[in-house]
C-alpha cells in the first residue's frame, strides 16, 4: 500500500482457471438454493389451504414463511451474485442501512395506518 498513485483496488479482479472453477461451483450451488426456495414457495402457495382444516388460522404462519424465504433469496442474490458480501464493511453498511432503517419503518407505519383507517371506516359505515 506504499504507492498511492497505484490505486488500492483493481478495476476487475482477475483470477486464474483454478480459482474460477471454485467460484463457478459456488455460483451453481447458489442457483440450486434459489431454485429450491422458489419451488418450496410455489408448492406451499398451491397446497397451503389443504394443510389445515381451518386455513385462516395458519395463514399468518404461511405468510411469514413466504416473507422469510424471500429474504433468504434476496440475501443470496445481493451477497453473492452482486458480490456485496465480499466488499468492504463501510460500503456494505452504506448500501444496507437505508433499508434496515427507513424501509422497515415505512412498512410498519403504513401497514399499521392502513389497518387503523380500515377499522375507522368500518365503524363510520356502521354508525
Amino acid at each position: 500500500m506504499s504507492d498511492h498513485s497505484d490505486s488500492a483496488y483493481e478495476f476487475a479482479v482477475h483470477h486464474g482457471e483454478e480459482e474460477g472453477k471454485k467460484i463457478r461451483k459456488r455460483i451453481w450451488l447458489i442457483f440450486w438454493v434459489l431454485l429450491g426456495i422458489t419451488t418450496v414457495e410455489v408448492t406451499l402457495g398451491l397446497i397451503w389451504k389443504s394443510l389445515s382444516a381451518n386455513p385462516d388460522a395458519i395463514w399468518g404462519i404461511i405468510k411469514w414463511t413466504f416473507i422469510i424465504l424471500t429474504l433468504f433469496k434476496a440475501f443470496y442474490i445481493v451477497f453473492d451474485y452482486m458480490h456485496l458480501g465480499h466488499e468492504r464493511r463501510n460500503l456494505k453498511w452504506t448500501i444496507l442501512a437505508p433499508y434496515i432503517i427507513f424501509v422497515l419503518y415505512l412498512t410498519f407505519i403504513c401497514l399499521n395506518e392502513a389497518l387503523a383507517i380500515r377499522d375507522f371506516d368500518f365503524l363510520w359505515w356502521n354508525s
Partner: protein, 320 residues
C-alpha cells in the same frame, strides 16, 4: 479483504488517491443508483401494501386472477409466474457466469453467457406481455359492476334482453360488453329472462346499497330473483382489467399491477438493451483492449438488481 482494510492508513484513504470503499468509481455509482432505485420500488410495494391492508376484505386473490398457462386449458394458478421467476433467476446465473468469465479474460465465455442472459431477459419480457394480455382481456362472462362499484359475478342459465331487441346469454355478456370501442355504442340491458343469481364477493360488508351484510359467517352472499335482476339492471357488465375497471375486484388492484409490473418490466427491457450494448462491445474486442471486463460487472449489478426486485414482486403480488 478484512485484513487488508485494517492495514490501510485511513487518513490517507480519505485524503484522495484511493477509493475508501475499495471499488472503482463506476461500480460505486452503479451501487448508488441502485440504492435510489430500490427505494423507489420499496415505495411502490409499501403503497401497494397500504391499500391492500386498507381494502383487505375485498382485495382480489392473485391466485384467482392469473390462472392461465400457454397451451394448457383450465385453472393453473401460480404456475406461469413460477416459470417467469425461474427464467429470471436463470438469467441471473448466466450473468454472474459472464462476470466470472470476464475475470479470466475469457472472451468466448463472456459472449456465450452474456448472450444467454439477453435471451433470458427477452423471454421474460415476452412472458410479461402475455400475462398482461390475459389480464387486460379478461374472461368470456366478464363481471357485474354494481351501482356502488362492487364487483360481483353472474351465475345461472339466463339471458339478457338488450335495447336493440336482441338478447345475449349471460355466459357471453363479458365478450359483448367488453369489446366497446370509442364511437361504437352498445345496446344496453333492458330485461333479464330466466333464473339469474348474483354472487357478491366474500365477506363483504354493508356497502351502502341497502343490503345488510354484516355476519362473519356469510362467506358468499348470493342475490336471486328480483334482487338479482335489479342489481344487473342498475349495474354494468365489464370485462378484463384496465386503469378504470377490473372484473377481478377493486380497480386499485389492476392499477398497482400495471404500475409495479410495468415499472419492473421497463427495467428488464432497459437491462436487455444495456446488456446488448455491452455484448456488442465484447464482440468488438473493446474490453480485451482495455485489459479488463469491469463493464460486464457493472451491467451485471443492474441485472441482478432487476432479478432482486422480481423476487419481492413475486412474493408480495402473487404469494402473500
Amino acid at each position: 479483504m478484512g485484513h487488508q482494510t485494517e492495514s490501510l492508513d485511513t487518513e490517507k484513504i480519505w485524503g484522495g488517491g484511493e477509493s475508501p470503499f475499495g471499488i472503482s468509481y463506476g461500480k460505486m455509482m452503479m451501487w448508488f443508483f441502485l440504492i435510489s432505485d430500490a427505494l423507489t420500488f420499496s415505495g411502490f410495494l409499501v403503497s401497494y401494501g397500504f391499500f391492500r391492508h386498507r381494502f383487505s376484505d375485498i382485495w382480489p386473490v392473485a391466485e384467482n386472477v392469473f390462472t392461465h398457462f400457454p397451451f394448457l386449458h383450465g385453472h393453473h394458478p401460480l404456475l406461469y409466474v413460477a416459470l417467469m421467476t425461474f427464467i429470471l433467476i436463470m438469467s441471473s446465473v448466466t450473468m454472474v457466469l459472464a462476470v466470472e468469465a470476464g475475470h479470466r479474460m475469457n472472451r468466448k465465455s463472456v459472449i456465450l453467457w452474456l448472450g444467454l442472459t439477453i435471451v433470458g431477459g427477452l423471454i421474460f419480457v415476452g412472458s410479461q406481455a402475455w400475462e398482461w394480455y390475459h389480464f387486460i382481456h379478461g374472461t368470456a362472462e366478464g363481471a357485474l359492476q354494481m351501482a356502488d362499484g362492487t364487483i360481483a359475478h353472474l351465475a345461472g342459465d339466463f339471458t339478457l334482453a338488450l335495447s336493440d331487441g336482441s338478447s345475449i346469454a349471460a355466459a357471453e355478456a363479458g365478450e359483448y360488453f367488453g369489446h366497446s370501442h370509442v364511437g361504437h355504442q352498445h345496446a344496453h340491458i333492458v330485461g333479464v329472462t330466466g333464473e339469474a343469481s348474483v354472487h357478491l364477493p366474500q365477506a363483504l360488508r354493508a356497502m351502502g346499497n341497502g343490503l345488510a351484510i354484516g355476519s362473519e359467517e356469510v362467506q358468499q352472499f348470493i342475490l336471486t330473483g328480483d334482487a338479482a335482476k335489479e342489481a344487473i339492471m342498475s349495474g354494468s357488465i365489464i370485462q378484463g382489467a384496465n386503469l378504470e375497471v377490473n372484473e377481478y375486484g377493486v380497480p386499485l388492484f389492476a392499477d398497482f399491477f400495471f404500475f409495479i409490473t410495468g415499472f419492473h418490466g421497463t427495467h428488464v427491457f432497459s437491462g436487455v438493451v444495456i446488456n446488448f450494448v455491452i455484448f456488442v462491445n465484447v464482440i468488438m474486442n473493446t474490453y480485451e483492449k482495455r485489459g479488463h471486463y469491469e463493464m460486464v460487472e457493472k451491467v451485471g449489478l443492474y441485472w441482478h438488481f432487476v432479478d432482486l426486485v422480481w423476487v419481492f414482486v413475486f412474493t408480495f403480488f402473487y404469494l402473500v
